[in-house]
Amino acid sequence: MGVFSRSWVAVTVALFAPASIAQAELSLHVGYLEVEQDLPPTLSNLDPVPEDNGIAGALTGLQDNLTTGKFLGHSYEMTHVTVPLGDDPLAAATALLSQTPYLIIDAPAQTLVALADLPQAEGALIFNATAGDLDLRDTDCRANLFHTLPSDAMRTDALAQIFVQKRWRDLAMITGTHPQDVSYAEAMRRSLTKFGLRLEAEKEWVFDADMRRNASQEVPLFTQEFGDYDALILADELHDFGRYVLYNTWAARPVTGSEGLTAVTWSPVIEQWGAAQLQSRFEDAHDRDMTSQDYAAWAAMRTLGEAVTRTNATDGETLRRYILSDAFELAGFKGRPLTYRDWNGQLRQPIALAHPRALVAQAPLEGFLHQINELDSLGLDRPESQCEAFQ
């Protein structure tokens, strides 16, 4: 499904609190840069990606910041810039950076790195809200680049933990061919090794038929060769073929990974830990469910808001130091305070293990211990990370 092309427009949202409460003494301007990406077609259009995916979360975060800010004399505004397909995202980023050093970005990994390396981005605080690539938290990390979306490895580690807990030791995997699928599969292999599990068999999904009509005939044959295994992993991050695999496998085994039992940043089925309030606030404002990208953009906006609230400052150096300090904590509706890893700028967070109807568990699961913080059993821990930009 292609994304509608729009002209490169900047929309500034400035919602001001009633003047009666406090005069704004501090003001923070946040830029939201959305680089449109060409999404390949998928077998089914049942779940289209929302047009305002990500930005809607930033707007809810902005509203939260404004409500808090009005009691403190802090105001916030956001400029939303969309870069249509084919346009130069770096030119748009440069223009935006001339207005504010605080950016939330919806763009692929290579664009993020190039953007963070712009001379104008020195000293900026850039939040990656949509790219899960592990390299961005590792060898490609940048001192001005923070990540509110979990890395793919955090999500695959979460699944590996539940495999261990359920004693699903022998796994099989079907991998799609899109770069996102390949990257997810790589993260999964790493996680399986990390937690001592075995990938018994792996196949690539190369069909180009329309599975809506023949999944029941193709999938059993396709999965018959796997022999016996405990669970089937799907690396299908664009949600192309995965939905047709469930209940069509040769052996009756649970399906997990990109479909079935998934490890996600956020899901409409999360209602514990006060999440029901965030969900309903979001739904009221945007008439749809909150996605993982929305959550990551919300968390980025709230990170900035929380830093301004607590430091009473808007300069980049103060905010960056505070965000990376022990004093920082974000109440992110996941049952424990969220903080940043000071070795690569990744937001530490529990990962939901969910199917479309309910939350199954939340990683880190009980029993996965860590000498400092159990949340660091997910993703790149300090000794594993090759990131040096934060030292």
């Binding site: 409460i21 939260d64 409500t67 808090t68 009005k70 009691f71 403190l72 606030r281 009221d284 159990e374």
Partner: protein, 343 residues
């Protein structure tokens, strides 16, 4: 009560005999009865958030003696001063329901604003201050005329509610804004806003209203304010052995007789802390059910009843020995608790 006397023993028996003797005598007898009243039998009313019911527990038998249906997702709960009316925040019904506790019948709904969560009854016994969690508003309702008196803009996700004993100040805490908002009840306007640690959940005025305490669930602390200046006076942290600090999450709390100690529910750490209210030191941790939430004392504050959301039960704590003595199964996800003496 009269039929039960023979089965009672010791001090309680004497107390109940006195109660029985003076029950129908005027003036002097009534005064004596009042001073003895807290020792008489009573009930703890517990809202079950995911069962849309209220469980009534007898403080004598420690058993559920009655279950009443409520509106959707009942949370905050409190009695009028004469215990003739019970106010229930039925969050998903967007109403505060008024129940006749003698019959379990809903008398009427109060206009509460959207998604009422917690509330507090003003000492005038008329005005209810309600936190509207979805709307960043505190609604003030006249419970007699059933009219909204005022709506006050507060921070995101208001929850904890308190009112000073003299009735002059009301407090709303907002979970995502992380503040305690101080409301002048005369003008119904905010006169101060105090930042606290993440996700403030509950507030209480302590020591005749000279102090105001706020719990912060995600911050893991209890902040103590001097009411006169709204200045922060102390901050209390908690440490439960074998539980990661992230999971030690203070929520509801209540003060013992004379406000000497506070019992603080610590959420998913499954413990209740006992805090010395003079030194602000934590003296004890008591193991209770899973995800302990709110609590209520019995009449003489010798027993404490905690609502344990995840395990769906109520733990009874003996206050003197600080030991849990019983778990009582109630409905799904018990949330709020309120005490009334047996009528």
């Amino acid at each position: 009560m009269t039929h039960g006397i023979l089965r009672l023993t010791g001090v309680r028996r004497l107390r109940d005999l006195l109660h029985h003797c003076f029950k129908n005598t005027p003036a002097g007898g009534a005064a004596l009865l009042l001073s003895l009243a807290p020792a008489q039998g009573g009930e703890i009313w517990v809202t079950n958030e995911k069962d849309d019911t209220i469980s009534v527990i007898s403080t004598d038998t420690l058993e559920v003696i009655q279950t009443y249906e409520t509106g959707e997702r009942p949370r905050g709960v409190t009695f009028s001063q004469d215990y003739s009316r019970l106010f229930i925040a039925a969050s998903d019904s967007n109403a505060v329901q008024v129940m006749d506790p003698d019959t379990g019948k809903i008398l009427n709904d109060l206009p509460s604003g959207e998604d009422p969560e917690q509330f507090v009854l003003h000492p005038d016994d008329v005005h209810l201050y309600i936190a509207n969690e979805d709307d960043a508003i505190t609604t003030v309702v006249d419970t007699i005329s059933r009219k909204v008196v005022a709506q006050i803009d507060v921070g995101v996700e208001p929850e904890g509610m308190a009112v000073s004993p003299d009735g002059k100040i009301a407090i709303t805490t907002s979970e995502t804004t992380n503040m305690a908002h101080w409301i002048d009840t005369e003008t119904q306007e905010l006169f101060a806003n105090s930042l606290v640690d993440s996700r403030p959940r509950h507030a209480e005025f302590v020591k005749d209203g000279t102090e105001m305490w706020v719990s912060s669930e995600i911050g893991g602390t209890l902040t103590i304010f001097d009411t006169a200046t709204q200045a922060e006076k102390a901050k209390i942290g908690f440490e439960v052995q074998g539980v990661h600090p992230d999971r030690v999450q203070p929520v509801g709390f209540e003060l013992t007789t004379g406000d000497t100690h506070a019992f603080v529910a610590l959420g998913p750490s499954n413990h209740v802390a006992v805090v010395n209210a003079e030194t602000y030191e934590v003296e004890d941790y008591i193991l209770v059910g899973r995800r302990v939430w709110h609590m209520a004392f019995n009449g003489d504050r010798s027993q404490l009843f905690t609502t344990n959301g995840v395990s769906g039960d109520v733990t009874v704590i003996d206050v003197a020995s600080r030991k849990p003595i019983k778990s009582i199964k109630v409905g799904r996800f018990p949330w709020g608790a309120a005490y009334r003496p047996t009528p």
